[in-house]
């Protein structure tokens, strides 16, 4: 029987009067990278920490590798790698010392010097945790999560505070771990991270999953895409509108900026280009914009700051 790597069903978690997770259901398939994407306070960390066995569900059911994270903790802990959102090391401990200690708790750990080299931690291997920058702490925390060679990884905001190079290195590592069959569940509020890295995205808001799918599926089916054309202002748009397929529209919101909205497909692009050409108008730029995961995310979760 094949289990889901993680299966959360109708999870409810409360802190006093506040309901942090409110009937959340999600599934993580083995061997995938799955992102839990959501604004601050959406319940991402609470959900992931419940899967890690730190909290007992107030209602609902959580299964990790087919086991109960609290009751079967002793069996699960060696199989699961955890990267906390922050902290996790003694202030006085040196980077390499901490990593060796974590390695010593596992049966077949990764080679510590090789891991240090791989994550570019050589320059601060002998520096105490107290003196590490935020990004260096993140890298150590990631290394601590994978040093025991787990089959399932939980990464809580793995690239928060990282510079672009370290971020890329983290992504490459997660991708390589997937090639070796490791399942990864990560929380993030970076769209590009979810889009680049994951096979599957669950968008979470106010403690519930409000959309799930591959990044491509979530970004939209093309019906909300646009073509932006820059050309001479003030063209009569009536004739073009007649030649466009039904469901599409054109407007000139800013003089010289034309926006075609609709099901953007190659014939539509050609039709728009030909129309401008027929008017003997030189198109200065023409940009096809697909709705991004970010547009979709903002559409689903609203634009209000929280």
């Amino acid at each position: 029987m094949s289990h889901a790597a993680v299966e959360v069903t109708d999870l409810v978690m409360r802190y006093g009067d506040v309901t942090a997770v409110d009937g959340l259901t999600l599934r993580v398939e083995p061997g995938t990278v799955t992102s839990i994407l959501g604004p601050n306070g959406a319940g991402k960390t609470t959900t992931i920490e419940t899967c890690e066995g730190f909290r007992r569900p107030h209602a609902g059911r959580v299964r990790v590798l087919g086991l109960d994270p609290v009751a079967d903790a002793a069996e699960l802990r060696p199989r699961v790698g955890v990267m906390l959102q922050s902290g996790g090391a003694w202030l006085g401990v040196r980077t390499e010392e901490m990593l060796r200690h974590m390695a010593s708790l596992h049966a077949h750990p990764l080679d510590v010097p090789a891991l240090i080299e791989r994550l570019g931690m050589g320059s601060f291997a002998r520096t105490s945790y107290r003196r590490l920058s935020g990004g260096e702490r993140q890298r150590l925390s990631l290394a601590m999560a994978i040093v025991g060679r787990p089959e399932l990884l939980f990464l809580d905001e793995p690239s928060a505070g990282l510079d672009p190079q370290s971020r890329r290195a983290t992504w490459d590592l997660v991708a390589e771990l997937r090639e070796h069959g490791v399942t990864t569940v990560l929380t993030t509020h970076f769209m590009d991270e979810a889009e680049t890295l994951s096979d599957f995205v669950h968008i979470v808001d106010s403690g519930r999953v409000i959309a799930s799918g591959s990044p491509g599926e979530l970004s939209g089916d093309g019906s909300r895409n646009t073509i932006r054309v820059t050309a001479r202002p003030g063209l009569a748009l009536g004739p073009l509108a007649d030649r466009l397929p039904t469901g599409s529209s054109i407007e000139e919101p800013v003089p010289g900026q034309y926006v075609v909205t609709g099901d953007v497909c190659p014939p539509l692009v050609t039709a728009v280009a030909r129309w401008f050409s027929d008017q003997d108008v030189l198109v200065e730029s023409m940009l096809v914009e697909r709705q991004s995961l970010e547009d979709r995310f903002l559409e689903l979760t609203g634009k209000a700051l929280r």
Binding site: H106, L110, D111, L115
Partner: protein, 259 residues
Amino acid sequence: MMTPLDLSPAPGAAPRGAMLRSQTAMELKLLLRNGEQVLLTIIIPLILLIAGTRSDRIVDLGPGRPIDVITPGVLALAILSTSFTSLAIATGFERRYGVLKRLGASPLPRSGLVIGKIAAVVLVEIAQLALLSVVALLLGWEPAGGVFPWLWLALLAVLGTAAFGSLALLIAGTLRAEATLALANLVYVVLLVGGALLVPLDRYPDAAQSVLGLLPSAALGEGLRDTFAVGAPHWSAVAVLAGWTAVAGALTTRSFTWE
């Protein structure tokens, strides 16, 4: 050439004994690296021991040679500093910085975390008690003869560590790290001055003696003074320490939170 990283899963916990050794070694290393802890556990007891030989000029310790009165008290203080103050502060900050949480997600069992702490505390205490005893003997300390006082010292040290250690974890597992730091130091000073730890109980006002006698500090201090004066502690010292261990242990088990 580095070993290439094999990222394929190969999960598994290390053998229990190896985990415990590693955890204890780590705790010990961090304890010794911390300057304030060394000051608290070694330097202050040493200063008090040496000053104690001249203590008749500072405080009246009662009948007997000052060194014979002060040495058991200093040994009791060493136990208090390591098993209570030092343990509470270290654990409070481990909780604050997510160390307990992170280790809680590792293959190390929760019991392993506690055993690692106890083992580190006991190893430090053995070193403290050995060093302080040797210095005291060099200063002219004349403990009761035979091997029994030393066996009683071991037993009372274990009981005192259990009582103070449970209290330390009770504070560290419920209060914020800063509050733990403040309270652990305050309790240390209060017990040192007013807890019949260094100064014999019969030097305190009569009215206070019956209450003070119920403190774990008084039980440990009086127990060790009796042990090295007459060869064995009064049974009440053992009973008081066992009582504190039972109560604090039960409360700690219920209230300790890992983050």
